[in-house]
């Protein structure tokens, strides 16, 4: 890790100890990214989060945020938690039961003139869609509202990095997607650097741009979600993992007559069933490799909306011995197809070969 890349990153973390909680972790949180720390419970995710916030100091620890040293066990230095520009949303939100929503957010604002203070509180409450709830106490709010208060309070710190500990674990399943969407929009609008600790792979698939997989305190895989989703298998993700491409796409147009939405993910253009997002909005799409059919000739009479000209980059073994994972390029955009070894042979799939990728509109997961 060079000093230059440390300075650019929102966060550079290196933690090591053998007891009481074994840790051997090193990763970088790029500026403006959503980095997911994914792993089963007991994998040390929360300890990593606490170490970033300065609530816990492992034996060997180095935490640098945007060039500012927060923890350096080599010199015994540790910036106290209250002086780190860090916003934390705790798993159960940790709202102060005796303070109103307004006081809660105001508490995290620190010292500033009364006028500026009130207007900043109003701004944050509007941002977290809490208007009208300013004078309520946490006990009278719903789970989703409480989470938004915790988020507004964390943002009040104007954090260099926003830390979220299992943010959706205690929210109703039906509400999670809406809250994920809100978080993603906020993150884009404010250009936040976010670290999210989760054991729910949905959070990774729908939110994260970077992924760090932890198991028993060790990093078993790390990289961008886009690059990692293309892998046939990722250590620590068995059971969750299915080769796929995850891309950010722009809403190009809606076709109300055919009830389709046209999405552009760089060079990859896809039609999907209408999604609720305005034109030019950014959505996360995910195309699983098993949903992509390959053809050497243009077929006719299919109920198919997406017939994409692609080029084979390489063919690699998949988790199952009879299957192959075919890496494709659509212009400069990656796409994956999981096919049988037999199909690879009969279609003559080899690096450089042109091929048609067939994708059912309904098999594209689009997450606004």
């Amino acid at each position: 890790m060079t000093e230059a890349s440390n300075a650019r990153a929102a966060l550079h973390v290196r933690l090591r100890q053998s007891a009481p909680i074994p840790l051997d972790v090193q990763f970088v949180v790029p500026n403006g990214s959503i980095t997911a720390l994914f792993g089963p419970s007991g994998s040390g995710k929360s300890t990593v989060l606490r170490s970033i916030a300065g609530l816990y100091t492992p034996r060997e620890a180095e935490v640098v945020s945007a060039g500012e040293r927060w923890t350096d066990s080599a010199t015994g230095y540790s910036l106290p938690t209250h002086r780190r520009r860090v916003g934390v949303v705790f798993q159960d939100y940790a709202l102060f039961p005796h303070l109103t929503v307004r006081e809660q957010v105001g508490l995290a604002l620190g010292n500033r003139p009364a006028g500026a203070r009130q207007s900043r509180i109003d701004e944050l409450l509007a941002l977290a869609r809490l208007d009208g709830l300013a004078d309520r106490k946490p006990g009278t709010l719903s789970g989703g509202q409480q989470q938004r208060v915790a988020l507004a309070r964390a943002l009040a710190r104007d954090p260099a990095v926003l830390l979220l500990d299992e943010p959706f674990a205690s929210v109703d399943w039906a509400l999670r997607d809406a809250l994920r969407h809100e978080l993603r929009s906020l993150q884009r609008a404010l250009q936040l650097s976010v670290v999210i600790v989760t054991h729910d792979f949905e959070d990774v698939a729908k939110l994260a741009t970077e992924l760090v997989v932890l198991d028993r305190g060790m990093v078993v895989a790390a990289g961008s979600v886009e690059a990692m989703t293309a892998s046939a298998a990722v250590p620590g993700l068995a059971g969750h993992w299915e080769p796929a491409v995850a891309l950010d796409a722009v809403v190009a147009a809606h076709d109300p007559q055919r009830q389709l939405t046209h999405l552009h993910a760089r060079d990859l253009q896809l039609a999907v069933p209408t999604i609720e997002a305005p034109p030019a909005a950014i959505v996360r799409i995910r195309v699983a490799a098993r949903e992509v059919i390959l053809a050497s000739q243009r077929p006719r009479g299919l109920s198919l909306h997406n017939m994409i000209e692609a080029r084979v980059l390489r063919v690699e073994p998949a988790a199952h011995p009879a299957l192959r994972l075919v890496h494709l390029a659509v212009g400069d955009t990656p796409l994956l197809s999981l096919v049988t070894a037999d199909a690879v042979q009969s279609l003559g799939l080899a690096a450089g070969a042109p091929v048609l990728a067939l994708v059912k509109a309904v098999s594209v997961d689009a997450f606004a």
Binding site: P80, V88, F90, L107, A156, R157
Partner: protein, 221 residues
């Protein structure tokens, strides 16, 4: 009715609360949050006045307050007169005897504050003292109120220890509890009855106020 004795008791109660509360809060906080060996021993030491007979406590205090003891000599040089049979001696005895009544409710209230609330406060940018002031004190308020009332009421009613270290000097160490005993000894049942009633009503009112306060503060809505 011995108004001087009542006044002295109230004064002793207030001074005891004022001296004991900050000390007991620090001790309670240390016991609630501190990580150290021998916590059980310290807790037992704090709780000792609950089960020790007042005469035993009184005896040890009397010995410690004496002219031969370090503590007694220290106060002799500080006050210019002996600690025994003085108001200051009474305050010191009262502070020690009331330790469990002040420490335990506050320790329980502090321990009941979820740990992640204090973590969250630090993550909100609050310095350690601000965490105490803005989060711990308000959330432990029912426990603090209980500590105040229990200490005050218990000081008004303390008899054995006061008799041992204070004697019964009017205006100096004759508290209302001692005065009642004196009146009964003198077959003055009427005066004893009036004073007993005053003490009863005071205690009842004090407990009523704390219970109401504690319930109201615990609701947080």
């Amino acid at each position: 009715m011995d108004w001087t004795a009542l006044g002295l008791s109230l004064r002793l109660g207030l001074v005891t609360v004022a001296v004991l509360l900050p000390l007991a809060f620090l001790l309670a906080r240390w016991l609630a949050y501190g990580r150290f060996k021998g916590r059980g021993f310290v807790e037992a030491l704090v709780a000792l006045p609950l089960i020790l007979p007042p005469t035993v406590i009184g005896f040890y205090l009397l010995t410690a307050f004496g002219q031969q003891a370090v503590l007694g000599q220290f106060f002799q040089s500080l006050l210019g007169r002996p600690l025994v049979f003085s108001f200051e001696g009474l305050v010191l005895a009262s502070v020690l005897v009331n330790l469990p009544f002040a420490v335990q409710p506050m320790q329980n209230a502090l321990a009941a504050i979820p740990g992640n609330l204090r973590d969250a406060a630090r993550c909100c940018g609050l310095a350690p003292l601000s965490v105490v002031r803005r989060i711990e004190l308000p959330l432990a308020l029912p426990g603090i109120a209980t500590a105040v009332v229990l200490t005050f009421a218990h000081t008004l009613g303390e008899f054995g220890v006061v008799l041992m270290v204070g004697g019964s000097i009017p205006g100096e160490t004759r508290t209302i509890a001692i005065a009642i005993y004196d009146r009964v000894q003198a077959f003055d049942d009427r005066s004893a009855g009036v004073m007993a009633l005053v003490l009863l009503v005071l205690s009842l009112v004090a407990l009523g106020i704390t219970n109401t306060l504690a319930r109201r503060m615990a609701r947080h809505d």
